[in-house]
Amino acid sequence: MRQLAKLCAAAALAGAAAAGAARAAELPPGTVIDARTLDARMKDTFQGKTIASLLPDKLAWQVREKGLTITLKASQPWTVDRRYQEWTEKNRAGGVKIADGKGLENWQAGVPFPAIDAADPQAGTKAVWNLLVGQPVGCYWSQPRYTFVTFDGTGGIEREMLWRFSRINMVGRYCDPQGKLTLGDGSVRSKEILVALEPFDMRGTGMLSAQFMNGDVARSWAYVRSVRRVRTISGSSWMDPVGGGTDMVNDDVDTFNAHPSWYKGLKYLGKRWVLAPANTDAVLWRPDAGSKKDMYPALDLTKAPSWYPAVAYEPREVHVVETTPPPEHPYGKKILYIDAQYPLPRFTEIYDKRGDFWKWGTWISKNERDMEGNPVVGTYAGGMYDFKRNHGTLFLSTPQPIYNDPKATENELSVGVLEAIGGG
């Protein structure tokens, strides 16, 4: 019996030694980190950085408690449009300024603030402006079909909604076919049109909105299919839930969809590296597949909560900004993780008014080509998970989003077109 105890002790020591050796290991791409292996991997490194340093606390918590699995892949820097890169380099000289805390001065295109100094009191605001106007996505982005899928954390898929989306950037148009950097008088940042295609009770219901550079509230119009009429809607709807029972509010689009001046605070917390799903090649949605399993090939629908797509994560450097919304906003605090190579949303971490963790959002990006063959980087998919309600939403893009269609003009986004699409 004593011998058995000795053997066990020896085995335990050997195991501990092996674990110690593993902690120090540089992990190869393809390594899977899940709840079972998380603690053992925390001190391991990937591309020279410890796993612990690459996982924000709430992301690690999801691995440990919520069934998130992370497969490692090597970082892959993005290729972007040459013209975008040139404008960005021009801005590196520091000529762009935030005008009275509102619009931008001396900015024409590219990332307005490519170099952010952590000591700059406006660092957080600059990082947010980069996200708002400096994404390497071009002038026009359209998803003829994309889906919102909502999940009950224990019961799996709850609802599937099909939408049509188009956005035209009215400023910073480095890829404009006519060379117009700005459409209109420059006061409108972007226009978006969003129309529900399914299910039946939402079909045709749509919204057109215009966002402004100077902090004016967005102007929005909705087409209500059931009464077949366009109605002007309140500009304060930017804090309201995205329709159809999703877990996002309108302000969560791209993690931050407001004007910086509407927020009480945008505090820059610094730069860090995180594991994030960028450059994904996984097929996440086959709209015309016959079964749920085929339709969502990256989801494990047999295992709750089913809402994490199996996509590989790579180390990305991010700016971290802690934002404090106005009192009427449902959130108490929202932390943004903004990609530092070029501004794209990576994560958002949301707290309620009492300071309790509430939601987590993950954005999945893809480096693609636009219709003229130039590189763009756009959001491909993402998820927002409400851990208080144990409810989640995935948004999955059409397999072939359209970027920078040279034929698409401002004309494509108008109240008349909203009415025509909704009524059709």
Binding site: R159, E160, M239, D240, G245
Partner: protein, 515 residues
């Protein structure tokens, strides 16, 4: 045999549903046909149950708690999309079980001895059109709906089509289900330079007589105005869709410019030549327009009128509200009159017998201005009522103003009732919509007050969204009438539209399976 046609409709509905849902996942059945062509089929199966909440003075038994409607409805929408052409066909089948209460109305006289359920069991092609786009110009031909104006609940310039108020009054949430589609040639030209569009349509006159104007329950069914439940009005007042001043075969048309002004104020200007939505009666005692009515007391008809309209709406950040307005000017709007203080309806023999002068009743015209102002607010009730997001609150004041009306005109509010038309008919309505549990539980409250003629209504409701397919709505339609006529011999000079619904409060449950 009663209800057989309803069963046939429902059997067809079941087959259609099976076909439509067989191929699809959660939403519409959708088929790629090659060459960028796509065929999609979607729709719903819907079941209503409604119960009377009042005893009605115009029926012999106690009506409270009795089932007033057990209606099943199938809608199938089919869309074929190609790069150059879109074809849409929408059909609707409705079948009702004859409830004991409806059967009693029928025995009392509703439908004049024929099968009352034929009024409710219907099979309709709702829409059937083809659309093509040439650059900025979109042309749509076929049976369709064209909706103008801003006003909810009431109609100002949304007069291209009539509505069918016979089976559910005006209470159905989706008014596209009540609007009566017409065969139109419709063109929209986008003018993006000014964020505008120009729309014009022509109705060539190919529709059926019953497709024009509003349809009301004139046969004594569940939405007959008090005190005419169980009374077959159609036996006394006919319907004429070929009156020289309101002939379904005559073309009607309209044009609308919609644009933006001052950056973000959405406005429209429109002209319409269309049918008066509510019918008036060509009186047997004094035939109008050179047409002798076939009905004992006269014929309902819808004269053609001209409508000049304007709408505007915009967001006002200072008060965080959307303000909207609409004005529709209808010169020479025809009304029935009665110089004797009666209902405007007399048999012709009273004139030939010299009992009444022929010009004691008839049709006179006066200008009508319908206008509306509305304010929509987003109110934050999260801390008060625990809602998901901000709640929608809307107030609307609607008026039908007859600026040239004189008391001596003796125009009638509604032929068949003694109430005289007033210079104004103000109605104030309010709507509150809430949302809970990720927009899956949606309580609402709608209320209205007829300031001029009296009476009010309150409609509390709750909608449940269950997955992609199932929608359940429960609502109470509560009417608080004033001045209603309680019997056919009763005389009331204060009848307004709410008094038509006196003692007709309902509790309604609606379940929809959509696909």
């Amino acid at each position: 045999m009663k209800g057989t046609s309803g069963k046939r409709v429902l059997a067809g509905a079941a087959v259609a549903l099976a076909l439509a849902t067989g191929a699809g996942p959660a939403g519409a059945a959708s088929y790629e046909l090659g060459g960028d062509a796509r065929l999609s089929v979607n729709g719903y199966v819907r079941q209503w149950l409604s119960f009377n909440l009042n005893d009605m003075p115009d029926t012999p038994d106690n009506d409270r708690g009795r089932l007033s409607m057990a209606r099943s409805q199938l809608r199938l929408d089919t869309t074929l999309s190609t790069p150059f052409l879109k074809l849409v066909a929408s059909g609707r089948a409705a079948g009702e079980i004859e409830t004991g209460w409806l059967h009693d109305l029928e025995r009392q006289g509703a439908a004049g001895g024929s099968d009352l359920m034929k009024k409710y069991n219907t099979l309709d092609v709702r829409e059937f059109w083809a659309e093509t786009t040439f650059d900025r110009l979109t042309v749509r031909l076929g049976k369709q709906q064209v909706v103008w104006g801003e006003t909810d609940f009431f109609v100002a310039s949304d007069m291209v089509h009539g509505f069918d108020y016979s089976w559910r009054a005006m209470l159905e949430t989706e008014n596209e289900e009540l609007r009566k589609p017409l065969i139109l040639a419709n063109a929209i030209l986008q003018v993006p330079e000014v964020d505008g569009s120009l729309q014009a349509f022509v109705r060539p006159g190919l529709d059926r007589g019953r497709d024009i104007g509003n349809t009301f329950d004139t046969w004594g069914g569940r939405w007959s105005p008090q005190p005419y439940r169980g009374f077959w009005r159609d036996g006394f007042v006919g319907r004429d869709a070929r009156h020289p001043e309101g002939d379904v075969r005559d073309p009607t048309y309209g044009g609308r410019w919609r644009g933006m002004i001052a950056g973000d104020i959405n406005y429209s200007l429109l002209y319409l030549r269309t049918f008066r939505p509510d019918p008036i009666v060509n009186p047997a005692a004094n035939p109008y327009g050179g047409r002798t009515p076939g009905g004992f007391l006269g014929d309902d008809f819808h004269p053609i009128v001209n409508v000049f309209g304007a709408t505007a709406s915009g967001y006002v950040p200072a008060i965080d509200a959307v303000l909207s307005t609409e004005v529709a000017y209808i010169p020479d709007m025809p009304y029935n009159y009665d110089n004797l203080g009666g209902t405007g309806l007399y048999p012709a023999f009273l004139v030939s017998a010299g009992a009444i002068p022929s010009n004691a009743v008839g049709i006179r015209k006066t200008d009508l201005v319908r206008w509306m102002v509305r304010s929509d607010f987003n109110v934050d009730l999260r801390n008060v009522l625990g809602t998901d997001g901000s709640s929608f609150l809307s107030f609307q004041l609607f008026d039908s103003w007859h600026p040239g009306l004189k008391d001596s005109d003796n125009l009638l509010y509604w032929p068949g009732f003694q109430t005289k038309l007033k210079q104004h008919a103000f109605t104030l309505t309010g709507v509150l919509q809430l949302s809970y549990f990720n927009d899956t539980v949606k309580p609402g409250l709608a209320a209205g007050w007829d300031i001029s003629y009296g009476g009010a209504f309150v409609i509390p409701s709750v909608d449940f969204v269950i997955g992609d397919h199932l929608r359940i709505r429960a609502e109470a339609d509560l009417f608080f009438a004033r001045g209603a006529q309680s019997s056919q011999t009763d005389r009331s000079d204060d009848v307004g539209f709410i008094s038509f619904f006196d003692n007709n409060s309902q509790f309604v449950v609606r379940a929809t399976y959509q696909f």
